[in-house]
């Protein structure tokens, strides 16, 4: 569907909703195409293709608010859907804080964020897809202990148009592509060592080559062979860049208007104060070219701008949408994160491991959770011992436990090696004196 048709659809929904009785309307019409090819052990396992479309709408009726979505876009069905939506909204209670986005917050220029790859809009032909999954698999299978190997390539092209009753029309178009490989190797007894590698990007040209992903997947899995429990200890924790994003995400999980206004945030009284050591700086950058989280405007239509979240350890801004801004008397920034870019240090992972000598390298977190009020956390980990400045034996069945604020206060090192296949661009992180529980 041409972009103009999507805009027309969004505008049409605004008009229909107004006719149905809504005073203000924020409508979004979306369309996406996705293709997935999965290969396992020498043969295609799954081929999946779809074109998907939907309409979602936020309504303000007599001081009341609701949001609605449908995939039934037949005109008569849409009218009935909107009539029901307005009726449902009227049945709710009025809330003076529920208002459509103020027009002054909407973008006035078109941001150049470069998130749509013409090559992916056109799509990869089936021969090119086959080459990707075959090459990844071939490289990942080069080991005598391989039990099974699954390689996958998924790409997507999405377009969205929004229109509002107070004058905003916005259009977004993006692509992304995700190659990945999973490998299972026979280990001791009944155990299997399983791991893999994967990458994601907006542009085909930004991907590493298929052979590298396959080789990495095998290398990471081979490194897991013979994983064993090690004793409970307090030691230095080096977090691999592929796992670091999940810790950053936990640290900032309650740095938003909803959590703060609702009194369920361990950083509620920390704005302007330290939430980490001075080594940590994080910029929310929706305008990062080709970023997986880049956007010209957020879900409320608020124009994108860079927002420093943490500067030298100090929490400088939190994510606040218009509703919780009004309700909690907080300064409106943007409803949620885009790309969170962590400021880099000077050493890469290998250099940090050499520098600290002994500790534990965390390659991934496994389950666990954290408490919104206290920041107390406990996560399972997978990783390796670090001995004499080198990566040692693989570790299984281990937890790491503590408090997010004290953990980040002990952040002593930041890597020079950001992981770009994520909306959190984090490098290796090093923390001192961390509690691990094992045998």
């Amino acid at each position: 569907m041409a972009d103009s048709t999507l805009v027309e659809r969004a505008r049409d929904v605004v008009e229909r909703a107004k006719r149905a009785g809504a005073q203000e309307v924020f409508a979004v019409a979306g369309r996406s195409r996705s293709v997935e090819l999965q290969r396992r052990d020498g043969a295609t396992e799954r081929l999946k293709e779809a074109t998907s479309r939907s309409v979602s709408v936020q309504l303000w009726v007599d001081g009341r608010y609701s949001s609605q979505s449908t995939t039934d876009l037949r005109p008569d069905a849409l009218d009935r859907f909107l009539a029901d939506a307005v009726a449902l909204t009227r049945a709710l209670q009025p809330d003076p804080a529920r208002l459509i986005t103020d027009p002054t917050l909407f973008p006035t220029t078109v941001a150049a964020i470069e998130v749509e790859d013409p090559a992916l809009v056109a799509g990869l032909d089936s021969a090119a897809r086959e080459r990707w999954v075959e090459t990844m698999e071939t490289e990942a299978r080069r080991h005598e202990r391989v039990i099974s190997c699954t390689s996958n390539l998924t790409f997507r092209s999405a377009t969205g148009a929004c229109a509002t009753s107070n004058g905003f029309v916005g259009l977004s178009a993006s692509t992304d592509i995700w190659p990945s490989v999973e490998v299972t190797l026979r280990d001791e007894g009944d155990k299997r060592a399983a791991d893999g590698d994967g990458y994601g990007a907006r542009f085909l040209a930004d991907l590493p080559d298929a052979a590298t992903i396959g080789k990495n997947a095998l290398a990471y899995t081979v490194a897991r062979l013979g994983s064993a429990k090690v004793p409970t200890r307090k030691t230095t924790m080096v977090v691999d860049r592929q796992a670091a994003g999940s810790l950053i995400s936990r640290l900032l999980s309650t740095a938003n208007g909803s959590s703060i206004q609702q009194g369920r945030s361990f950083v509620a009284d920390k704005v302007g104060k330290a939430i980490a050591s001075s080594k940590l700086s994080i910029l929310d950058d929706p305008l990062l070219p080709r970023g997986l989280g880049s956007r010209a405007f957020d879900g409320e239509g608020i124009a994108a701008r860079t927002l420093p979240i943490v500067e030298k350890g100090v929490l400088t801004n939190v994510y606040v949408d218009t509703y919780y801004g009004r309700k909690g008397k907080l300064a409106v920034t943007t409803g949620g994160p885009s790309n969170r870019v962590v400021a880099l240090g000077s050493k890469d992972r290998a250099a940090w491991i050499a520098a600290i000598g002994d500790g534990i390298l965390v390659t991934s977190f496994m389950g666990g959770n954290s408490d919104a009020n206290s920041g107390d956390f406990s996560f399972g980990i997978r990783g390796h011992l670090i001995q004499k400045g080198e990566i040692g034996a693989p570790i299984g069945e281990m937890n790491v436990t503590g408090n997010l604020l004290s953990l980040f206060a002990s952040l002593s090192g930041v890597g020079s090696d950001p992981w770009r296949a994520s909306t959190i661009l984090a490098p290796t992180l090093v923390f001192d004196n961390v509690q691990f529980s094992g045998a």
């Binding site: 293709e49 809330d95 529980s437």
Partner: protein, 513 residues
Amino acid sequence: MPSRRHLLQAAAAGVGVVSMPGWLAGCARPSAAVDLAAPLPINPFAAWFGVDEPLLARLLTELGKNGATFADVYLQHTRSVNISLEDGIISSASASIDQGAGLRTVMGDQQGYAFTEELTPEAMLAAAGTSASIARGTPVLARQPFVLNEASKALYPLATSWGDVGIDKRLPILSALEAHAKVLDPSITRVTVNWGDSEERVLIATLDGRIHVDVRPMTRLWCIVTATRKGQTVSNSANLAGRRGIDWYSDEKLKALAKEAVDRTLVLFDAKRPPAGEMPVVLAAGASGILLHEAIGHGLEADFNRTGTSIYSDMVGKPIASDFVTIVDSGVEANTRGAIAFDDEGNPTESTVLVEKGVLRGYLHDQISAKHYGVKPTGSGRRQSFRFQPLPRMRATFMENGPHSREEIVASVKNGIIAETFTNGVVQIGAGDFTFYIKNGWLVEGGKITAPIKDVNIIGNGPDALKKITMAAGDSKLDAGGWTCGKDGQGVPVSQGLPTVLVSSMTVGGVNG
């Protein structure tokens, strides 16, 4: 065209009848963009979208045009409503209609899949053609006439279907729950209530000539409590969920839910972290079934065994636990989240014994793995929606009663913990390592409960933890919480249960010194 009569006859004895009252009932206020007040649609997709049996046969024939071991068409129409009460007012609701068709061609272990939200013959035939491109062989025609699958019992009949319940009937439940919670303690500063209900209509038509129609209701009510005492703020929640109707929410139930949410919250004021390291873990009856889900359930999903990637791949027929351990995964626990009359491939569900008196009996199968192993499907092929291909999945996973008592079990623990409420868990299928997160629990010292604990992750290894189940009580029960299981990017509703159990040693993510 024998279809209508054929469907009606079969439906009279079949599962389609189960939820029929909801479709048949006069509808004062249609809440979906389909005319619920119109005369009965046995096959709503025929009534609303013109997807009749001849069209289904055309789609299946298209799916089989290059050959197929089997193929299916999955039609879905789901209407859901979510409402929240925050700061004393019900000022936000969301409702959605999600409809579409999933079209699948299976050739051996290979699958072609496509979906469309447009239920027109053109869009669905195009999608079917895409799926069929996975195969290279001789065309297979859809078997005719269709036969409607029959289910032996009603698993989730509702007095009033959600489509017939006005929004005004739902709102007082949220307000009542808030009021019940607020009065329980002066330290309570906030009560937030989240409500959800949905009604999913599905039609599954298969290349071998079966049609299955079902209506699957679901509801969930969540109570979140925040309390402040001497400058310390704590929050926690409790929820209830099931394939139930509005009359399930009696005032008594709301009071019990409010009390549970408040109790779980207030106990956090005094709760501490337990020590770190290996120790005995008592799992309280009910939600602790999360142990089974992670430690063994996923590992017995047949896709992981068919590919040799599960730690349990070579263990069928072998003893893996004490002889009092019997573990079941059942699709027929009425009104639970895991209840499902037919799975999403149109196969009848059952109660599948996974471990019988300590011996591993078998796997959870979808149609591909059942064919691979030459066994009957267990009715475990499930999918999140029409956008996904089915996979072997759990339904309601639980352990049967054991020979001990809860008192005996607690008294046997010198230094350990009791795990009582949980937020989430995960497992590595190959290595067998699993974790689950304890939100509330108790410290046990010298056989006595001494203090509340909070926020610890437990990590263990599946087969190892099963061997270490040294005691089990006679108080097995299914948890009524709203558990959702994730696999391969798909979430499906599940249930879990356990009697009070002692695992003699697991690693507790506590804090030392």
